[in-house]
Amino acid sequence: MYSKNVKSTCEKISRSTSNLQYSYKRHIKEKVIELLLFLAAFFSILITFSIVFMLVKESFAFFQQVSIWEFLTDTQWTPLFNDAHYGILPLISGTLVSSTVALLVALPLGTTIAIYLSEFASYTVREITKPFLELLGGIPTIVYGYFALLFVTPLLQIIFPDLPGFSLLSAGLVMGIMIIPYVSSMTEDAMRSVPMHLREGSYAMGATRFQTAIRVVMPAAFSGIAAAYILGISRAVGETMVVAIAAGMQPNLTWNPMEQAATITAYIVQVSLGDLPHGSIGYQTIFAAGLTLLLITLIFNILGHLLRKRYRQAY
């Protein structure tokens, strides 16, 4: 009897120590997992860091051979010719012109669609249309490039017979339509998150839906709408395949959308398609071009951030 009691007590003690061990093990496991998860999250910072590092490193090598002054002021970009010129301006002009055309299409149309869906459309229309718009945003850009070159350009040539086979106009137009879903869905989300009582107040004052949308909902949703526009701009500036296919690859300092011109992205594609040796100046130019592109999108992002901060509405 006595021995039995002792035995069970011993068992109990041993179990509790093993429990202690068990809980200790469990604790260690928890900490290890937390560390692993943290490393995964930290990895995203590593990506940003390596992007900046890689672009700056190769650009630095580039700027040892070409002065920044020449890079910013020379009006020719012919790094692969014997008579090499390294002026980024032609690529920037191409990028800005095609982006402007795209944004002139995407921002008004996208905003109109967003206002319509958020303030005017019935529940059914909205539920049917939104997935369609999302699908539109999922189409690969290369397909839009094909469409711009083989459908939109011939169509535009009927209206403007002088239009060349490659043009910033047709690339920009298609790019604009491509960006519409991004702008409209983000703008709509921003407008829908405006509290209902603001609208109700406006309606109670006798305002129409249009007045409410323009004067009450849009100002209240300003920060979200600004974010949508910034995203649209970043998309347009960084878009590659549509311009590479439909706008041509000839660097051309022009502000006329009816001409053909290369954008920064198109130039990177053009060089990548060729076979440039690693470490040559041609290889370094695409990193310098990429850095310029990143800086341009960064400027717009900072601008958007400041705008949002300045006009943030609290309700």
Binding site: S44, L136, V143, G145
Partner: protein, 308 residues
């Protein structure tokens, strides 16, 4: 008399504003129509151009100098393998990062930094990822223009999408689920692994599908790492006859993918190649549309079914 005049003026004002309302309504419908009609035009154009080229042979032939015998065999095999690498590397990493940010991260400056960083990464142009991969994967790590390099590049690209989807899916799970689990003595990880992840699986899956659909269509970063546009052979088979039966040689093989094959055909002057491009584009569009539609359907079902 004066009252009546005022009333009349008021009516005019109201009528004008009503008219504006109507005008805008029409503008809204028109804008929507423009977007949808463009899509119709795009699809019909490709259908007309590409449909005649679609046949069994088109899927089982290598690209060729003769347009009528060219096919997309190496392209679709390449796309499948690259997507495999992308999914295997981006999905666990993205989910882990999402779980950390949503469940573990302390509220401090560093967490905020990671959050801002993820948002910004989503806005970085895809070609920039290509440049990073060219410098880092292709030359620094010596992976060359391989399937592995391409898959990892696209993984970086869709990582923010997976992270954001994971966070949103986990965030919708009510706090009572966590509290119930903790009350039963579960640790944090047990709560995450046994409750939060299973419940958020459909949401995460939606994000993964959308991310992969985007990766399938991405052309620019893959061109940037220097993928060849003309590949008339397949990567080595992953299954072998002798021990250990599995081989990873295919990871280092040169490749081409669907969008690059299409780009190659689009940029050729001969008109026959354009219909090949249309056929390849058609397959690409159907593939991405199907994936996106699946994601949208999953989300719709989820919203309907789950009532906490």
């Amino acid at each position: 008399m004066n009252e009546e005049k005022k009333l009349e003026e008021l009516r005019v004002v109201i009528a004008r504003h009503r008219r504006w309302d109507l005008i805008f309504l029409i503008a809204g419908v028109l804008a929507l129509m423009i977007a949808l009609l463009t899509f119709m035009a795009l699809f019909t154009q490709m259908l007309i151009d590409g449909m005649p080229r679609l046949s069994w042979d088109f899927f089982t032939s290598f690209p060729s100098r003769r347009p009528e015998s060219a096919g997309i065999l190496s392209a679709w095999v390449g796309t499948t393998l690259v997507m495999l690498v992308t999914a295997i590397s981006a999905v666990p990493l993205g989910i882990a990062a999402g779980v950390y940010l949503e469940e573990y991260a302390p509220k401090n400056l560093f967490t905020e930094l990671i959050e801002i960083n993820v948002t910004n990464l989503a806005g970085v142009p895809s070609i920039i990822y290509g440049l990073l991969a060219l410098g880092l994967f292709v030359y620094q790590l010596g992976l060359g223009q391989s399937i592995l390099a391409a898959g990892l590049t696209l993984a970086l690209l869709i990582l923010p999408i997976v992270i954001v989807a994971t966070r949103e899916a986990i965030r919708t799970i009510p706090i009572v689920i966590r509290e119930g689990s903790y009350a039963l003595g579960a640790t944090k990880w047990e709560t995450v692994a046994d409750h939060l992840l299973p419940y958020s699986a459909p949401g995460i899956l939606t994000g993964v599908i959308i991310g992969l659909a985007r990766a399938i269509g991405e052309t620019a970063p893959i061109i940037t790492i220097g993928a060849l546009t003309f590949i008339a052979f397949l990567p080595p088979s992953p299954i072998k006859n002798e021990f250990p039966f599995i081989s990873f040689e295919w990871l280092a093989a040169p490749f081409t993918v669907m969008p690059i094959q299409m780009f190659n055909w689009v940029s050729r002057p001969e008109e026959e190649f354009q219909s090949n491009a249309a056929a390849a584009g058609l397959i690409l569009v159907v593939m991405t549309l199907a994936m996106n539609a699946l994601a949208i359907y999953l989300r719709y079902r989820m919203r309907k079914k789950i009532k906490w």
